[in-house]
Every structure is written in structure tokens, then in C-alpha cells.
Amino acid sequence: MNDWLFVAPLLILGLGSILMMLVDAFAKEKSELAILSSITMGVAGMISASALLSGAEAADAPEMVTRFLAVDPAALFFDVVICFGGALSALLAGGYLREHGLERGEFYVLLTLTTLGAVVLGRSTDMLSLFVGLETMSLGVYAMVAFRRGSSTAIEGAVKYFLLGSFAAAILLFGSALMYAATGSTSFTGIAAAMGDADPKLVLIGLLLIIAGFGFKVSAVPFHMWTPDAYEGAITPATAFMSVAVKSAAFAVFVRILFVTFGDELSMSLASGWPPVLAGLAALTMVYGNIAAVGQENVKRMLAYSSIAHAGYILVGIVAAFRVGSEAVSAVLFYLLAYTFSNILAFGSLILLGSRGREAVSFNDLRGVGRRHPMAALPFILGTLSLMGFPPTAGFLAKYYVFSAAVQAGGSMILLAILGMLTSAIGAFYYLRVTVFMFMRDPEPGQVKAIPMKSGYVVGALAISSLFVLGLGVMPGDVLEAASRAASLLLG
């Protein structure tokens, strides 16, 4: 029984999506699907969360499963992050799709199956399950971006995302094929075991190609070009999902592959391994993401660049882990969880602030909306405070842990931490600018005034996220403990 617990989230997501297709075929009321998919993903996340917090051991999971999917605490932790991100996005979609007349049941099926792919990706311990999970997730996301198929912004963003995404997947795949050529194995541990006698040329090329492929998926500069277009073109609940669950899953497997497969002396050395490459990517990503976010007039594009910047902070944590070890990895895990809830708050209240014909997407749309509807603007402020790293929110602690891990690592890592703090200060500027527009600017004469929509689903998602953002910021104890246990077992 116990061994089933560890694959139960996958089974629930798979069966839930089949059930949803049946309900979609026979039910008239599509918003039932929102609650159904949200419950499916929520339950999947809860199971992993309870297994994680109770400290259950995967005593005898069958070898057939463990060869491809990890059942360790880190896997469970990522399950929780991904499934909660998916469940909250489903709630947001429940309000958004009905308000804007896009109510089609496919969205929820795509969302659930994409979450299934993301969970497989986050858990994968073999190049094969990595590739299959990655493609399941990506194909679903491409379709979600193109969901508003009559809009040229949506379709062009999706075509760009699809072409570059498939290109990056092919590069990642070629990298893993070269690792197979070098070591004769495709499992992460098998590759690591054979690394000693492997041809270093092949390993180095493979490593670089794999990093480039992942750099694309987590939208690190210079592989970020698709991000603003896809984020802007997608319907807002899909954007929220991309920025939390998809990104977390890509980071999950990235961390695993770096420390399990490329955790040997040579690949981790400062002279010839991945730390300097990732440090460069992190620095570029933080600087470019934050600076480019300043000039944006569209709030969704601004949040897209902000999500690029956050990828940079997370990369700092990953690079720091090559010296500090599990402490830095646990900071990354905590960061992903905090980032999930903060981002859902930001995108969720952007959804809440608009209604049919009066959608709030640009800074100008938000003029004065905070004074007219303070309760609807509140979650946005909480979300941006957390993204900014302001105490007592979860985002503050997350940033604090990541940067203090970087300082502990010493050497040039301290420079990265300082750069991170400086660029965070730029971040404060563009996040606060939204608040200024909401409370201190009057709408221009003749301008459409944004009116908040009424939706229990969206309000529910915002309430849950607010609770978590404040709760994790004030009492991070249990979650932090689970994260550090997961990290230390992951690093072995």
C-alpha cells in the first residue's frame, strides 16, 4: 500500500483528466470542470504533501517505477509545488474563461494533463522519462497559449514558443544522446557511475547542450526570447500556470540532473564544469530581466520579464549549491514554493481587476482602480511585495535564504549575491509603479475604467495564496524542514 502512495498523484492526474473529458462531453455547465480539475490537482498535491510531512519512506517501490521516476522527498516536494500551482490556475481559469466567453472544456483537460507531464518531468531519473515528461508538458502548454485561437497575438506567441521550444527540446535530446554515447546509459545514476571512463569530449559537449536546452525551458537569458510574447499572448490563467508550474518542473529536473548526473569532481570544478557557465547565465538573467521589465507598458509583459529575473535568482541558488550543498538546494526549493503563491497572487488579481470588455492588461488600464476597488487591488500589492522580497512575506525569506547561501559559498559567489540584491532594487521600482498607477493616478478622460469581475473561484484562489504567502513568511518552520530534508537526501 505504502509504495502506491508515491505514484498515486500521477494516477489521480491521469484518471482525473479522463473523467474530465467524459464530463465535458455530457455536461452543459463548464465551470464544474474548473472545480473538478482543481480538486484533482489539489488532492494529488495533498497526497504528496502528507507523505512529505509525515516523513514516510518509499520502502519497496517497484524497480520498474524507480528506474524512471524518483520517489524521494525532493520528488514529493516538487509534486506539491507543481500540483498546487496547477490547482490554483484551474480556479483562476474557472473565473476568467466564463467572464470572457472562452468557456471550452478542453482547457481543463489540457491543464490537468500538462500538470501530469510536469510531475513526470520533475520526478524523472532517466533521460527517457525526462524527454517524455518534458514533451507532455510542453505540448499542453503550446495549446494553452494558443487557446484564444481567434487572436493573432495568441497564435503568433504560440507559434514562436512552439518552434523555439521544439528546437530547444531537440538540442536537449541531442545532448542526452551524446551522454548515452559517452557512458552507455540513460539513467541519471547510470551516467554518473560510468562518468569515470567516459570520453570527456562527449561529456562536455553533452553537458553544454543540456544546459542550453534547460536554459530555454526556465527562460534564462539569452534563451528567453519567447517568454514575453508567449506570456502576453496566452490567456492570463495559462500565463500564471506557465510562470509557476512549468518553470518549477524545469528547475526540479535541472537540479536533479546537475547534482546526480554531473555531481562528480570534474563537472563541478570551477575550471571546466558547469558552475561558471550557470553563474554567467544567472548574472545575465538577473540584469537583463530586471532592466527590461522597467520599460514595459503591459503588466503581463512586465510580469514576464519579472519571471525571467526570478529565474536568475533561482540560478544563483543552484550555483551556490556546488559549494554549500544541501542548504542552498533547500533554499531553491523554498523559493519555488514561495514564488508559486506570489505569482498566482499577481496574475490572479490582474484577472480579478478586469471584466468583459474591460480587461486590465496595461498600466493605463489600472489607473485609479485601487481607489475605486481597494479590496480587489489588495492581493496584487501583497503579491508584488512578496515578489519584491519585502518582509514578512514568503518572498522575503526565500530571497534571504538564496542570497545568504550564495554569501556562504564565498569567492565570486558573493559578487553574484550583491548583483542579485542590486537588481532586486530595480525590481522594487517596477512593482511599486503598478501600485502608484492603481492608487495615485486618475484615469484619463474618455478612458475605459476597469471594473472587477465577480467570481468565487478567483477570490478563493487569491485567498488561499494570500494565506500561504503570509503563512510561509511568518512560520516557515515545517516547510523549511521538509525542504532541507528533501535537499540533503537529493544530494545523497
Partner: protein, 102 residues
């Protein structure tokens, strides 16, 4: 003349490079999709060739099966996107620098 693993790997690399160059140079979404297919096929050559030199199991060949299945799924979604693009723009050019800022 003896043909070894190196010949297969070199050939795969060249074909992968041709596919990648096509992807970068062309602006026709259909041809870019086909370039990606060429790249995925080059990856398959590596898997199958290496498997021949590690014949204890069929890991490489199995991997190729999965790549073929997923390439088919990718083609389905990609072609659906091309059709949607064609409905709106009446062209399949993927260069969208005009309508989307960077």
C-alpha cells in the same frame, strides 16, 4: 575501409547541423517544422548506433521508438498551429517581428 561508431556519430552530427541551420535560416513555419524532424532523426541515429556497441540491452532502440512517437505528437500540434496561423494571417511565415515587440 572499416566503418566504426565514429562514422555514425559524425554523420548524425552533420545531419543535426543541417536541420538546425535550416531551422535558423528559413522563415516558413512548415519547413522549420520539417527541419526539427531532421534534427530528431539525427538524434535517433546516435541512439541506434550506440546501442549496437552496447548490445546488452535495447535502451537506445527503445529511446528511438519514443522519439518517433513524440515527433508525431509534436507534428500534430505544430501543424494545428500552422493552420491556425494561416487562418488569421493567410500566410505561414513565422517571422512575427512586426506585431510583437521584443
Amino acid at each position: 575501409m572499416e566503418i566504426g561508431l565514429g562514422a555514425y556519430l559524425g554523420l548524425a552530427m552533420v545531419l543535426f547541423g543541417i536541420g538546425a541551420s535550416g531551422f535558423l535560416m528559413r522563415r516558413n513555419a512548415l519547413i522549420q517544422l520539417m527541419s526539427i524532424e531532421v534534427m530528431l532523426n539525427a538524434v535517433n541515429i546516435v541512439f541506434v548506433a550506440v546501442n549496437r556497441f552496447h548490445p546488452a540491452d535495447h535502451v537506445g532502440q527503445i529511446f528511438s521508438f519514443f522519439v518517433i512517437a513524440i515527433a508525431a505528437a509534436e507534428a500534430a500540434v505544430g501543424l494545428a498551429l500552422v493552420i491556425a496561423l494561416f487562418r488569421i494571417k493567410k500566410t505561414v511565415e513565422s517571422d512575427n517581428a512586426d506585431t510583437l515587440r521584443h
